[in-house]
């Protein structure tokens, strides 16, 4: 690469000039075709002219141009790339998207301060005065059930001197009172009063707790947005409302209850890796090989009680051949949402299985929906549903993962699960243990994913191939009449799609 380690002319964007030179592009080295052609081939070609994106992004130069250092303090050549340079070109992503703190800062502003973000479930705050601490993007907020039954989402920061008003993870209260100087607030955040009020002028207007402007619930799942305007939650969820619909439809009583606390995972890597990996169907055969081989060597668990069996079969399922993974459909929807079809066909929650617990559950579901709809609800066979930008829902197993970016190279993932109200209690046990085995930081499966994210993060800090190619399977992408795109399982469609959406939020 010509400019190794030296900031020189800023020509490493993806204008035509840069591409034709192309010495730094792994794509042009390997393929005779030019990246422009890739963009035409890809259904996920950019929606607008490259120059336009570049022109608008250039506004950021003054704000977000600084030199990068690696975490170990050794300067690399990342400073050649500023946020002003496009990070997505055709079906390739510049490594800056994962490692540049300036990109991360911009993501916080343009994605996490604008998008609808999941903040909790209504079952966590059923009664007036119930509240839980949660997060929206980087901000700690209090989700409160008001006396009028509505929900408020309040910044956990006293309007007086800034102390956290609530410190317990959950509770019930008639008013919120700051421990520092006892300013007290109604459940909607408005100020009730302050001690020594005569210390203020009589016409002095004092503020209440700041509220997040938009809070909406979709079938019990509460989302909020820092942006006072924009599409409704239902429109935002778009084609993947179906993930929540299906999860709720699976409950014989028609409602869900969050239970079991949460599992919390942490890795020293970029937040986007988690959601890409959750719909990457090539990695399991390699990343999870040790658990596949281990269950093959110790098949006793496959014959054990239902709960054990279910986990063991999940380990085994990662060992499918590439041709089998190809049969698992991927489906990408406008808005950045993606789901992958099911691949794990065994186990008690699978409709095919005859099991006394499942049979009781199925009967309860038939009572609610009738035979036909109950069968349809149970036949929805998807594994991960990714709700852009940071949620993964597994409706069949009642589980949900929320990805929380802490820094460009530091991410926490909260794993939570739901009871299908009205289902036999044994079903809840299955849910818990499935999540334990699949998603815990000590999981035989998830632990290797976390390791790979950390390896990617460390690897990406090294200069070399600046662009990450995401073209696998692009020729198989098929656009549907509703604007969504389907592809076979081993396609990198989800990554292309997530980055196309990412680019729109970041730079359009």
């Amino acid at each position: 690469m010509r400019n190794q380690g030296i900031a020189s002319e800023r020509d490493n964007g993806y204008g035509a000039r840069g591409l034709q030179e192309g010495e730094d592009s792994p794509m042009t080295q390997r393929e005779p075709e030019r990246p422009q052609d890739c963009a035409q081939l890809g259904i996920h070609a950019l929606g607008e002219a490259v120059e336009e994106v570049r022109g608008r992004a250039a506004d950021d130069i003054g704000l977000f141009r600084f030199r990068l250092t690696r975490t170990d303090g050794v300067r690399n050549n990342m400073h050649m790339h500023t946020v002003a340079d496009p990070v997505v070109r055709g079906n390739a992503i510049h490594r800056a998207a994962y490692i540049d703190p300036a990109v991360f800062a911009l993501e916080q502003e343009r994605i996490f301060r604008r998008a609808w973000l999941y903040v909790g479930h209504e079952s966590e705050v059923p009664q007036p005065g119930d509240h839980v601490l949660t997060r929206i993007g980087p901000d700690e907020v209090i989700l409160v059930r008001r006396e009028d039954g509505g929900l408020s989402l309040l910044h956990n920061r006293c309007a007086h001197r800034g102390a956290r008003v609530v410190s317990e993870p959950s509770g019930n209260t008639r008013q919120l009172r700051c421990p520092y100087h006892a300013w007290s607030y109604r459940l909607d955040g408005s100020l009730i009063g302050v001690p020594l009020a005569d210390g203020y002028a009589s016409d002095c207007k004092l503020p209440g707790l700041a509220a997040v402007p938009r809070v909406e619930s979709y079938k019990g799942f509460v989302f909020a947005s820092h942006s006072a305007t924009g599409p409704s939650l239902a429109d935002f969820l778009g084609g993947l409302r179906s993930a929540f619909d299906n999860l709720v439809d699976r409950a014989p009583a028609g409602t869900l209850t969050r239970f079991g606390g949460s599992l919390r995972l942490e890795y020293r890597g970029n937040w986007k890796m988690f959601l890409e990996n959750a719909v990457d169907l090539v990695h399991p055969g390699f990343v999870h090989k040790s658990s596949v081989d281990a269950i093959r060597a110790h098949p006793a668990a496959l014959q054990a009680d239902a709960i054990t069996q279910q986990g063991a079969q999940m380990f085994l399922a990662n060992g499918m051949r590439a041709t089998q993974w190809d049969e698992v459909p991927l489906h990408a929807f406008p808005g950045g949402h993606v789901y992958m079809g099911g691949f794990y066909k065994q186990g008690v929650i699978a409709a095919e299985r005859e099991d006394p617990v499942f049979e009781r559950y199925r009967k309860a579901l038939v009572e609610r929906h009738g035979e036909e709809k109950a069968a349809a609800v149970l036949s929805v066979d998807r594994f991960n549903n990714i709700i852009w930008p940071n949620v993964s829902v597994n409706a069949r197993f009642g589980a949900m993962r929320i990805v929380r970016p802490l820094a460009v190279d530091h991410t926490v993932v909260d794993v939570v699960c739901f009871k299908l109200d009205g289902a036999p209690p044994e079903m809840h046990d299955l849910t818990l243990q499935f999540v334990n085995l699949a998603a815990s930081p000590a999981s035989l499966v998830a632990s290797d994913d976390l390791e790979i994210f950390e390896r990617c993060q460390r690897g990406l800090a090294n200069p070399g191939n600046e662009w990450i190619d995401m073209r696998r399977g692009v020729l198989g992408d098929r656009r549907q009449v509703d604007g969504s795109v389907i592809s076979k399982g081993t396609s990198e469609l989800p990554m292309r799609h997530q980055f196309e959406t990412w680019q729109k939020w970041m730079f359009a």
Partner: protein, 148 residues
């Protein structure tokens, strides 16, 4: 030193020496290895667990630890399982545990209280239940590969 104390110290040493098959051999056929998330959790049905494994799943975990393709142990960790404050009450032993782990240039620590339920079998003491209550089971954790 009592038989139970010696047993617990040996168990810890087998983990530090990466003799995982031998470690598994200390568990009875009906054993459970459990690391709850929640302090004071009574039943496994109450909450998610970092690990809840009957012996036949624990055997899969141990088998995996011998596999070269176990990326999260390539290279392997070095650990010290420090067991202290052992109290024996019938078939139950309670102890304090601190695990220091070094891997890939970084160190970290786990701390918790451990409860062992033990049974005298033909070939000596065996673990029927090992429960590790971490002080921070509810906190985010990076990948956990070496048993605690």
């Amino acid at each position: 030193m009592t038989e139970v104390e010696a047993f617990l110290l040996r168990e810890a040493r087998l983990l530090d020496e990466q003799r995982y098959e031998d470690w598994l051999g200390l568990f009875s056929d009906d054993a459970i290895y459990w690391i709850p998330t929640r302090a004071n959790q009574v039943t496994v049905q109450e909450a998610l667990s970092i690990i809840y494994e009957p012996r036949n799943l624990l055997a899969v975990r141990v088998e995996r630890l011998s596999r070269r393709e176990m990326h999260v142990q390539s290279p392997p960790s070095r650990t010290v399982h420090h067991v202290s404050a052992i109290e024996v009450d019938g078939d139950e032993a309670r102890s304090a545990l601190i695990v220091a782990e070094w891997r890939g240039g970084e160190s970290r620590f786990f701390a918790g209280r451990v409860t062992h339920k033990l049974r005298k079998e033909a070939n000596g003491l065996r673990i029927v239940l090992k429960r590790v209550d971490l002080i921070d089971g509810e906190a985010p954790h990076r990948a956990i590969a070496v048993p605690l």
